[in-house]
């Protein structure tokens, strides 16, 4: 079994076997993060460029640490302070980066599909670190890794995904992964933030957060993405909190051994109550730890594969 891909652009094109390979490989890499010397020589001499057109702390640092733990050289380009702010087009930026022969380009962009445009024109492997409202495959992989580590499997689990579904690439990647691996997904959110025809992704739309949480093994909360909202999607923070936040009272409806995930950054007091975010069921920081192992697996498997340009 190997990953027969030049790039990792989405979950949609991954088979269940490929997802399992990525998660299994990440399991082995997690141990490296617990060593005194957190570094192996595997990708010595390889170059990983992180090109981020949107703000990010967690994901960018996570990819950078993952690359460095594998002994690759990691270079970070952020849009402010780069030629992008001088009006350079995406294609020109990418061509210039290619001229310096990186092995992997990790890319975040506000436009859905931008990494596909780049991947077709680049010899380097491209990893989508979030494109607009489309996908964020490594986030879904680290969520699945965290769930599998605690529950042993993804098959047969009941998973509630709650919040701003409309703007969430994390949601889209997770639904594709979880349904492919045999979990049952129920979603809930304000009607204005539930995408039309979301049932077609194979999820059940619950009439309320209470219904979605009933008997859930896993609760995945999504951030309210104010930066992507140009209109009024809900009347007030207080009303959102009252109707859709994960609170201590609501979590009682889930299973006793429920685990709570959130891709971060969290809006305390908006989609999640502080006491829940910091509480015993929360694996929010464990997700961050696992993110490094998952991204190490992605870098390892992509650079191990042949790099043919299509």
């Amino acid at each position: 079994m190997r990953l027969q891909k030049k790039d990792l652009l989405d979950i949609e094109s991954l088979s269940a076997e490929e997802i399992a390979l990525l998660l299994d490989t990440a399991t082995s890499f997690k141990e490296i993060g617990t060593r005194a010397i957190k570094k192996v020589p595997t990708l010595r001499g390889r170059t990983v460029v992180n090109l981020f057109y949107e703000p990010s702390t967690r994901t960018r640092v996570s990819f950078e640490i993952a690359a460095k733990r594998l002994s690759a050289d990691a270079v970070n380009v952020s849009v402010s302070g780069s030629s992008v702010s001088k009006g350079e087009t995406l294609l020109d930026t990418v061509r210039n980066l290619q001229a310096m022969a990186p092995d992997v380009l990790v890319m975040r962009h506000p436009a859905s599909g931008a990494p596909y445009f780049v991947a077709r024109r680049l010899e380097a492997a491209v990893v989508n670190a979030g494109d607009g409202m489309h996908e964020h495959p490594t986030q879904a992989l680290l969520d699945a890794f965290t769930i599998r580590e605690r529950k042993g499997t993804l098959r047969g689990l009941k998973i509630a995904i709650v919040g701003d579904l409309l703007h969430s690439r994390v949601f889209r990647s997770n639904v594709r992964l979880l349904t492919r691996m045999g979990s049952a997904v129920a979603v809930a959110g304000p009607p204005t933030l539930v995408p039309p025809e979301v049932e077609k992704l194979g999820v059940e739309v619950a009439p309320s957060i209470e219904d979605a949480l009933a008997g859930a093994d896993v609760v995945m909360m999504l951030r309210v993405q104010k930066e992507r909202m140009q209109g009024a999607y809900f009347p007030s923070v207080r009303e959102y909190f009252r109707l859709f936040a994960l609170t201590r009272a609501r979590i009682e409806r889930a299973r006793k051994d429920v685990i709570i995930l959130h891709p971060g950054p969290i809006n305390r007091g908006l989609e999640i109550e502080s006491a829940v975010a910091d509480g015993p069921y929360s694996l929010i920081l464990e997700q961050v730890t696992n993110g490094v192992a998952v991204r190490m697996a992605v870098l390892y498997l992509l650079t191990g594969a042949g790099t043919e340009v299509s």
Binding site: R2, T25, S28, E31, R35, A36, Y300, G304, G306
Partner: protein, 174 residues
């Protein structure tokens, strides 16, 4: 080597280790290189225990991430776990592998081991030494030395992995 000879070779190797590490009980660790070094290390540890009354620590080392040919093989070897559940500092480690060939696996294993700590000594045990070294590495304990051609393939089959204990020489390689 047939099964009988295989067993007596393991007996001999275990007593050689016990002999050389006498007085070091509690410091001795047998570290198998994945995949086939691991069951070999376990079997040797059992024999040493029944001889000396002290069971050496056992570990398993995955050297995939330390290989020097990852950039050229173009494949993705599966990465497995390394397990070293004992204090490596000041220990006496015997690395255990099935076949010693170019020496590159052993080089990788030593590098990997040193990333975890500073053993007092690292020794090497192999079931078969088939020659054709590409690095200045030799074994301290050898089950059997085989004259081979470069293109030959030597396989150590083990009960745990393959259902029988046997050393097989394949003339045409693989």
């Amino acid at each position: 080597m047939e099964s009988r000879a295989f067993q007596s070779t393991l007996d001999r190797l275990a007593s050689e280790i016990a002999e050389r590490t006498r007085g070091l009980e509690g410091k001795l660790a047998l570290v198998g290189i994945r995949t086939r070094g691991v069951p070999l290390a376990r079997r040797l540890a059992e024999r040493i225990e029944s001889g000396t009354g002290t069971r050496p620590a056992i570990g398993a080392l995955d050297i995939t991430l330390y290989r020097d040919d990852l950039t050229t093989v173009g494949a993705q070897p599966i990465v497995r776990n390394t397990e070293l559940p004992f204090a490596l500092d000041d220990s006496w480690v015997v690395l255990v592998d099935d076949v010693l060939f170019t020496g590159r696996t052993v080089r990788a294993a030593i590098t990997a081991l040193i990333d975890f700590g500073r053993p007092r000594k690292i020794e090497l045990l192999v079931m078969v030494d088939r020659g054709w070294r590409e690095l200045p590495i030799q074994a301290d304990y050898v089950g059997k030395a085989l004259e081979t051609k470069r293109e030959h393939s030597v396989q150590v089959l083990l009960e745990e992995e393959d259902g029988r204990d046997e050393v097989v020489l394949v003339e045409n390689g693989s």
